[in-house]
């Protein structure tokens, strides 16, 4: 379904590597299955040509990898960024998390990524082969029949309510530049807000009780880049991988949401990587919606160096009592 082809990306990566602009390429590598794409660093042409992937399963946002990779790797790093990834990229630059000079950013236009769980729900388990395109062709080990699925029907949740096709940062752009989209991403939050407090509590209790504290959401989150995470601190009493009690599983996600409030770009990686399919992005999105209504619209990462409303003060700021009422609706 992607308009821009793998060959264009491979050619770009190889030429930048060969002309010495970059020494490393941060890209998507073939996994065990066709849908199982892994972020990886490539350093040679043959490896790229054989194993580099660009298709509808390349959801991974590479921005956060730059924090560690720019520290450890010698030479410049080529990073491919989808429009949503560029917001995280800018936000990390705002927070001085990596050296911009060490990165060559190539923007890639994106038509939306697909959700393997949605495909499995249609095609069943035992997928042996997937061919991407307008119609995704799925083969399984259980049948000779090739199942055809319209890619638009199995988009990832975050892509269904995509907020921007515009790249806010890049050195070079592949494909066409899009626009910021007037998305319906807050509809889901509005649904939660319409619930009674009891219903909402029940909803979150059901969702958060599924949490296995694998920490994938934290590890993938581009806003979570503390040198030392409080959830790794044995003295915190909440460092366990398994949730010791219901308080812990609730507090983990809520503390995390508070922690990234104002810095979260709504990239949706937390929900994408959650093995338990908890809609974690809704917590962050509620914060974004509230901040937008209290302080005026603010998109974290839209520009480098912008001041998030929670760490800014203007005389037009709402009074705490208004916020209280707003929260108490």
């Amino acid at each position: 379904m992607q308009k821009i082809t793998r060959d264009v990306l491979v050619e770009k990566a190889v030429s930048l590597l060969e002309n010495g602009t970059v020494a490393n390429v941060l890209g998507w590598r073939k996994g065990e299955f066709d849908y199982d794409i892994t972020p990886a660093v490539f350093t040679d042409k043959a490896d790229i040509e054989a194993n580099f992937v660009w298709n509808d399963f390349c959801g991974a946002n590479f921005s956060k990898y730059l924090v560690q990779k720019t520290r450890k790797l010698e030479g410049k790093i080529l990073v491919f960024l989808k429009p949503c990834d560029t917001y995280s990229f800018n936000q990390l630059l705002t927070e001085h998390r990596f050296d911009r000079e060490k990165v060559y950013a190539v923007g890639v236009s994106c038509e939306g990524m697909v959700d393997i769980d949605k495909i499995k729900a249609i095609a069943g388990d035992g997928i042996s082969k997937i061919v991407c395109g307008e119609m995704i062709e799925v083969s399984t080990v259980y049948s000779d029949e090739v199942i055809k699925i319209d890619a638009k029907d199995v988009l990832e949740g975050r892509c269904e309510s995509c907020k921007s096709k515009k790249h806010v940062a890049y050195d070079e752009l592949l494909g066409e530049e899009g626009d910021v989209i007037d998305s319906n991403r807050f509809d889901e939050v509005a649904k939660l807000e319409a619930m009674t407090p009891d219903e909402r509590f029940a909803f979150w209790q059901e969702q958060l009780s599924k949490c296995i504290r694998c920490n994938a959401c934290r590890d993938i989150c581009p806003a979570c880049t503390c040198e030392n995470c409080v959830f790794n601190n044995p003295n915190s009493g909440v460092e366990n991988k398994a949730a010791a009690n219901s308080f812990e599983e609730k507090m983990f996600h809520i503390i995390r949401a508070f922690h990234v409030a104002g810095r979260c770009t709504d990239c949706g990686e937390c929900s994408r990587v959650c093995p338990q399919n908890i809609p974690l992005h809704l917590l962050n999105r509620k914060f974004i919606k509230d901040m937008d209504s209290f302080y005026g619209e603010y998109q974290a990462g839209a520009e480098v160096g912008s001041r998030a409303p929670l760490v800014n003060y203007t005389t037009e700021d709402v009074e705490p009592c208004d916020v209280f009422e707003g929260g108490n609706e």
């Binding site: 520290r71 705002t94 927070e95 001085h96 998390r97 880049t225 503390c226 040198e227 030392n228 409080v230 922690h259 990234v260 810095r263 001041r307 760490v311 800014n312």
Partner: protein
Amino acid sequence: MQRIGVFVCWCGSNIAGTVDVVAVAEALKSEPGVVFSANYQYMCSQAGQDLIKDAIKEHNLTGIVVCSCSPRMHEATFRKTAAAAGLNPYMVEIANIREQCSWVHKDMPVGTEKAIILGKAAVAKVNLNTPLVPGESPVTKRALVIGGGIAGIQTALDIADAGFEVDIVEKQPTIGGKMAQLDKTFPTLDCAACILTPKMVDVGQHEKIRIFSYSEVEAVKGFVGNFDVTIKKKARYVKEELCTGCGDCVSKCPMKKVPNEFNLGMDNRKAIYIPFAQAVPKVATIDADYCNMLKNGKCGVCAKFCQAGAIDYTQKDELIEEKYGAIVVATGYNPISMDKFDEFAYNQSKDVITSLEFERLTNAAGPTAGKLLRPSDGKHPEKIVFVQCVGSRCDACNEKGKEYCSKICCMYTAKHAMLTRDKYPDTDVTVFYIDVRTPGKNFDEFYRRAVEEFGVHYIKGMVGKVSPEGDKLIVQASDIIANKQIKIDADLVVLAAAIEPDKSARPLATMLTASMDTNDFFTEAHPKLRPVESPTAGVFLSGACQGPKDIPETVSQAGAAASKVIGLLAKDKLTGNPCVAHSNEMMCNGCSSCERVCPYGAITYEDKEFRMPDRTTLVRRIAVVNPAVCQGCGCCTVACPSGAMDLKGFANNQIIAEVDAICK
């Protein structure tokens, strides 16, 4: 483990009346770390302090909790007590069981329970206290005075006479302020210029004083003793060092129709001007809004006639960076706009004027050369009505005016009425008032002279409406003593407009992080005991920027502010506050959140090399706090996403321990 002593104060019956102090001392005895507990009538008395000192020595205390009044009252006292007994003064915690407990509760059991909880919280905090040592910072021995009116002039002279350098920043082309516009001054009727201009000359000639006229404060950084101030010297298109103030340029300038702000727009001046004859510095200024040469390059007359060659049409605004140890705010006041007071017909008739305009009409250097003539037709007014409290003492719900009393209007109105009757005995003068307020030396005598000797009609009651009819102004008013409505066909109506702080005060307060009240008057550190200091260390208040004041009061406050500045500048070093932020470099990820919220610019970043476990090195960006600049506000500690920022004396774990102790 700490060895903590608890000292519960009765404060006479202030605390003991509502809190069972014996029970509090007993209950806190069993808290972790507490090895001694006592109660006493007045802990702040010499005997009470001796009790604390003895206990520290006898029981080898490592920390103390005093359950008493607000730390604002006696924290310093008890810190000194602890220090005298050899304890680090920052091992003292105050549990405020007076303002936050006994004074707000009536019921003894409730008050006692709360006092115990507050005591437990303080004990929990002391358990985590560490000895702190304050740093020292040098003092720049130069003061900045913002505003060159009588307040700023007096403050600057007093500081300079003590031997310290002073800079005055004045936004107008000359110092002098409002007082330079006045005619006579109450209650002695001296000529304002006669007593002010010698002081202006003193300022101009004082070797310790520099005047930045036609200049504004652009930015303020730093802290007490070490302010870095950016001053914008606006382009006046005249080289100050060359201009002799001869006035040739002014007389030759062809652009004659510029409203003269010194005479409140009642006559015109030239595009190049010297505000008034005694201006200091006596330097011409070109008004860029009206100068033809600057607007369209056609003229250049002033440059042609200037023998000193002082005219420079290419001059640009200049930014000057200067260091100061203390800053005095003397930004003064302005009469409020009369636009909202349609009932007095100020915008409909030229013959309805404000008191300051009246002041110019009677001044020999004013638009009428001191003859009291109506602005509309230049005739002598035969009936004058003065209206007091226009915009002063308004209802809170009334958005037109101010709630406060402007304080000076009763006296200057009496002055105007008296002077009018003195010079023009045939004039009929009526004053409408709510109350006549004359609390000041020789003030009431002055007002009574106006009534008794000069025959001014004082009528208690407010004017409801002024309507121009022909060449008369029909004043409708009530006389509430006679209980009747009055109509007067006046020739001139003078409005005693309320005064408000200058518009430049609010942005200046933001730059100085000095606090203001809802009316934009600067607030003092203590309304009674520290009236000339702002709560921000190193910032002092002089004159009407702090509240409405007459000249004698302004001059005494200006002197008081100067004495505070001298006291500060006389020190070589200032002891800092050790309760400052610091960053844990192992946790800091250099994200800049703290730097963005720091109101004092105390945080910078450095790239620091870290040795990694595998013997490699890693260069990371980390935050560094300048303890001399940090004021310990704690903004950074809450903004830091990594929890790397912490505040000494108010550490995150101490605050959590206090909350835990309260919630236990």
